[in-house]
């Protein structure tokens, strides 16, 4: 039996994914557990393996298409099998909801169909076959009340007959809307439709499922370029806006004398082990977090959730944007382990190989822009965390010690914290503790 | 020998044809007649001498230059002229016009506007006669141009193989529209082609009634005795253009005048009849006047005849029992 392959939901936050590339062509064999397609989701590109074998009968959404989760993206089945019924059941198959200029070279002809074209909103006109119209007229039914099951929602004779048999079907909805409602487990009768005569559209179901699916109107001037808001950009934007919108963010800064940390790093180096300054910062922050649990909490509607573990997020800049892989249980890990893991995660991030578990579940984040020669900066908290530590560059600075001006390796730390959870003084103490640990790394032992 | 009675008939037919054609030309010039009208003037000896030996039961097929054959095969001038004018009273109820004119009831299987188109049809009529063993013959009239069509060659072969009672009468008037025969045809005499099909072929003066008559008489005897077809090439000349309005840039006006003034088949025949004492010039003048009057009357009849009713346009596509 032919069946749909849907846009898989990869983690709680995901609402839609961008298909980057089909690794199996239409008509080709799909091998169970072998890579089937690549998609760009929340923050990165994932290769999705086939859950079952068969033949890829139809690619509904080609490379570049942004598809809401659970929506069909392809049909798999037996070679030569008829899948027109399945295709018809979701209405217009050819036009993806949004097709953007794809990052990857266009792979299939279908994918080149729509360049930066918006989702076509359903127009007011109702299409019905002549026979369906004739029958509806005979039965005294307005065809606009009937769901069309034919191609592109065409109302056919069967739809009229079904309507006659089942007039109780009082909620008018598109077949796609019904499908989405079924997949999202939502009662379609409780949704207010926005279509003609309040017909429930797929969009209505998605917004009802807190899945935002705003139709985008693209107006493009000749000397402007329009970059569709999608994938990682969209998620980053939503997160940052949510962060600043919901939290009461405040900021402290402190300057740290890194001379001893530099010495520590040199000692490691001397025995052939490689740790970065950032690793040392991570280790110190982790230790400080165990001592200041409020800095390692989340504000929720139910209350403040204190976490007895520290999952440290590390902000990594990648080509597509920003990603925050997480070192789980960092408070239990040695500097060596932290160094190893952070370097692996950074590599994976840059190679788009992060799996959802690699970048989820963080409790605190460290963001370092020292490599860009930034003295210090204010970071925005990665929700639902309570704080973020921004790390500036490490540089020799003239410092007054006693009455002398000496040259020391100095670094600026900036802590952004959620004032709803943490007040200024404890936040200051927390930051001071990190400074203390960095200036006296033997305390880590 | 041609009987006196038959000579009179031939003379009468030749005049009817001539005045019919001249009247048709006049009507065309007066814009009372439309379409392609190919006139037979100058070639009357062939149709008249041939058809004088046929009955209504014998078959002919004709050409785009078919008025002469039609009249010689028994058509009345008024109905023929009415057909030229596309009238309901015409032989073909205005469906045919000049190029397909025929009185089908007189054994005329039609003028045929496709060059060479009628030759196989006459061959088939001859086959029918042979199968029905009814002593009928078929005659296919065609021009020099048709002798270069495949149907000519296929039909001569077929008729020869089957020894059909058919006479192939080629009216060689020297031009296929504007192209002289020598430029289009590989043989000096078209009758030479008979050799290729193992049948007799003769070339005669097509403006000489007696020559045509005798050659045809021999051919009919051969046909009726079951020996098969004969190809008769009648060298003649059309003294008018290929069609009404032909500028005739392709031929010398002096030639036309020479043929018209010294080789006119009617005048030649008239002289022979008078010289032989068959008829007086005055008697023959009467025939001429009568033909002229008949043609004028035919034009009147045609002009005064109704047009066919467009409501009937679909009639006769099929025979319906």
């Amino acid at each position: 039996m032919a069946e749909f392959i849907i846009m898989p939901k990869q983690g709680l936050q995901m609402t839609e994914g961008t298909i980057m590339e089909w690794l199996v062509g239409e008509g080709e064999e799909v091998i169970a557990d072998a890579p089937l397609f690549e998609m760009e989701t929340d923050k990165l590109t994932i290769t999705i393996d086939a859950s079952a074998g068969g033949t890829l009968l139809k690619i509904i959404h080609g490379a570049g298409a942004v598809v809401p989760i659970t929506e069909p993206i392809a049909i798999i089945g037996e070679k030569g099998e008829d899948f027109s019924g399945l295709l018809n059941s979701i209405g217009a198959p050819a036009a993806p909801s949004v097709v953007a200029e794809s990052v990857e070279p266009v792979q299939t002809e279908e994918a080149s169909v729509g360049i930066a074209i918006v989702k076509a909103p359903r127009t007011g006109r109702v299409f019905a076959s002549p026979r369906a119209k004739m029958l509806a007229e005979e039965k005294g039914i307005d065809v606009a009340d009937i769901d069309g099951s034919g191609p592109e929602g065409l109302i056919i004779e069967k739809d009229v007959l079904d309507y006659v048999l089942n007039p109780a079907q009082k909620t008018a909805a598109t077949p796609l809307a019904r499908k989405v409602a079924e997949l999202e487990n939502i009662d379609i009768n409780e949704i207010q439709g926005s279509g003609v005569r309040n017909k429930v559209l797929a969009e209505d179901v998605r917004s009802s499922a807190s899945v935002s699916q705003t139709p985008i109107q693209l107006v493009q001037q000749l000397d402007e370029e329009l970059i569709p808001i999608k994938g990682m950009r969209k998620i980053v934007a939503e997160r940052m806006k949510q962060s600043l919108g919901e939290m009461a963010q405040a900021n402290h800064r402190i300057t740290v004398d890194m001379t001893n940390s530099v010495a520590l790093r040199e000692q490691y180096k001397a025995v052939g082990r490689k740790v970065s300054y950032n690793d040392i910062v991570l280790r110190c922050a982790a230790k400080a977090l165990t001592e200041f649990p409020m800095m390692n909490s989340s504000w929720t509607s139910a209350g403040i959730v204190l976490k007895k573990y520290v999952n440290m997020g590390i902000a990594v800049a990648i080509e597509q944007g920003l990603i925050v892989p997480v070192i789980k249980n960092i408070h239990l890990k040695s500097l060596d382990q932290i160094s190893k893991e952070s370097s692996e995660l950074a590599t994976k991030a840059k190679e788009n190989r992060l799996q959802p578990e690699d970048y989820s579940g963080g409790t605190f984040t460290v963001s370092n822009l020292g490599m860009f020669d930034i003295d210090g900066f204010t970071a925005i908290i990665n929700p639902p965390e309570a704080g973020i530590l921004a790390v500036g560059k490490l540089a020799k600075q003239p410092v007054v010690i006693g009455d002398e001006i000496v040259i020391r390796m100095m670094m600026q730390l900036s802590l952004t914290y959620d004032h709803r959870t943490v007040d200024g003084a404890p936040a200051a103490q927390f930051l001071k503790r990190i400074k203390e640990l960095l200036e006296n790394p033997m305390l880590l032992i | 020998m041609i009987s006196k009675e038959r000579k009179f008939w031939i003379y009468e037919i030749m005049n009817k044809i001539r005045y019919f054609e001249l009247k048709a030309l006049r009507l065309f010039e007066e814009n009372k007649l439309r379409g392609s009208v190919h006139l037979y003037a100058g070639e009357e000896a062939v149709a008249a001498a041939v058809c004088s030996q046929l009955t209504d039961d014998d078959y002919i097929t004709s050409t785009h230059r078919g008025h002469g054959h039609c009249i010689a095969k028994g058509a009345e001038l008024d109905k023929a002229m009415a057909e030229l004018m596309g009238k309901e009273t015409g032989y073909c109820k205005g469906r045919s016009g000049s190029m397909h004119i025929a009185d089908f009831t007189k054994g005329n299987l039609g003028a045929n506007a496709i060059v060479g188109g009628g030759i196989p049809i006459a061959t088939g009529a001859a086959l029918a006669a042979k199968l029905q063993k009814n002593d009928k013959v078929a005659v296919s009239f065609f021009g020099d141009g048709a002798s270069n069509e495949g149907t000519f060659h296929e039909s001569l072969n077929l008729a020869a193989v089957w020894k059909l009672p058919i006479i192939f009468v080629c009216e060689n008037n020297g031009f296929g529209i504007s192209v002289p025969v020598a430029q289009s045809t590989s043989v000096e005499n078209i009758s030479d082609r008979a050799v290729g099909y193992g049948i007799p072929g003769v070339t005669i003066d097509g403006n000489d009634v007696f020559a045509v008559y005798e050659a045809f008489e021999t051919a009919v005897k051969r046909a009726k005795s079951g020996d098969g077809p004969t190809l008769i090439e009648c060298k003649t000349y059309r003294t008018l253009g290929h069609w009404t309005g032909d500028p005739q840039t392709y031929r010398d006006k002096k030639d036309v005048e020479m043929w018209r003034d010294t080789k006119d088949p009617i005048q030649l025949f008239k002289k022979r009849l008078v010289d032989a004492g068959d008829f007086t010039a005055a008697e023959l003048d009467t025939v001429e006047e009568a033909a002229k009057a008949e043609a004028d009357a035919a034009a009147e009849f045609a002009i005064n005849s109704p047009n066919p009713d467009p409501a009937d346009v679909m009639d006769d596509v099929f025979y319906e029992a």
Binding site: P130 | G90, G117, T123, G124, L127, L158, Y319
Partner: protein, 326 residues
Amino acid sequence: MSKKTYATAIRDVIAEEMRRDENVFVMGEDIELLGGIFGCTRDLYKEFGTDRIRNTPISEAAMVGAGVGAACAGMRPIVELMYMDFTLVAADQIINQAAKTRYIFGGKAKIPLVIRGQQGIGRGNAATHSQSLETIFMHFPGIKVACPSNAADAAGLLRTAIRDDNPVMFFEHKALYASKFEVPDDPDFCVPFGKAEIKRTGKDVTIVGSLLYVSRALEAAAELEKIGIDAEVIDPRTMVPFDMDTIIESVKKTGKLVVVHEAHKVAGWGAEVVSEVVDGAFKYLDAAPIHLGAKACPLPFNIELENAVVPSVQQIVEAAKKVCYR
């Protein structure tokens, strides 16, 4: 009833009609001792002699033209063309002469002429000997066109054709000659022209096909039944006159139409059917009709290629499913 092959049914009708009417005779290539390359005149010369079962030279224009002339002169000729592709060699005699003679002579002529022969795929005869040409002769008023799909229709339609006073183009199909069918023994058994046959009744989709495509449409219908689609299959049997009414009535019932023929799709007669059905049953249509025909490509020799050019049973099934939104 007797079970006969399509070829035998044709031969028997020719013999019966020749016995019945001495004006009936046959001419064609290789029809005497050889009996025609498909045996449709086998041994008939023994009974009727070689005047009436008459070998011709390979001169299609002269043969057909002689048929026209003989018909004008009171005979009822049957001209056998070895391949109906050769109608094109004789096209002037068919189209300009046979078809038009009655009309241009103001209804005075009768042309009781049958031009018969076989056409189509199935024997690897390639581009010039495998065409399906019934469509082109439908275009010219004045000729009737018959397309029997089985031995009984071949017998009944041929008898009607021979007794008709109009020129009839009788298109047999080479792949059907060996097929057997119950044929009525009645020596006056005629199938009227212009009367389609509903080969299978159904309520979901109307499939129209002729010649070889009647059996293919029926095969498709059997496939469709397995998935719950009840197809009605109609064989028009004659192309001129064409029984559009039966098809329109069927489409009024089913709301869906698939027309399939072996003739090329482009401007093929299926397009005419679609046009007439849209005109005559528009409001009854539940789906856009589908027209299937041979690809716009000469018929190739290789059997795989040949099969690739003409519609398959599977394509008929797919088309029917599509119009049924399945």
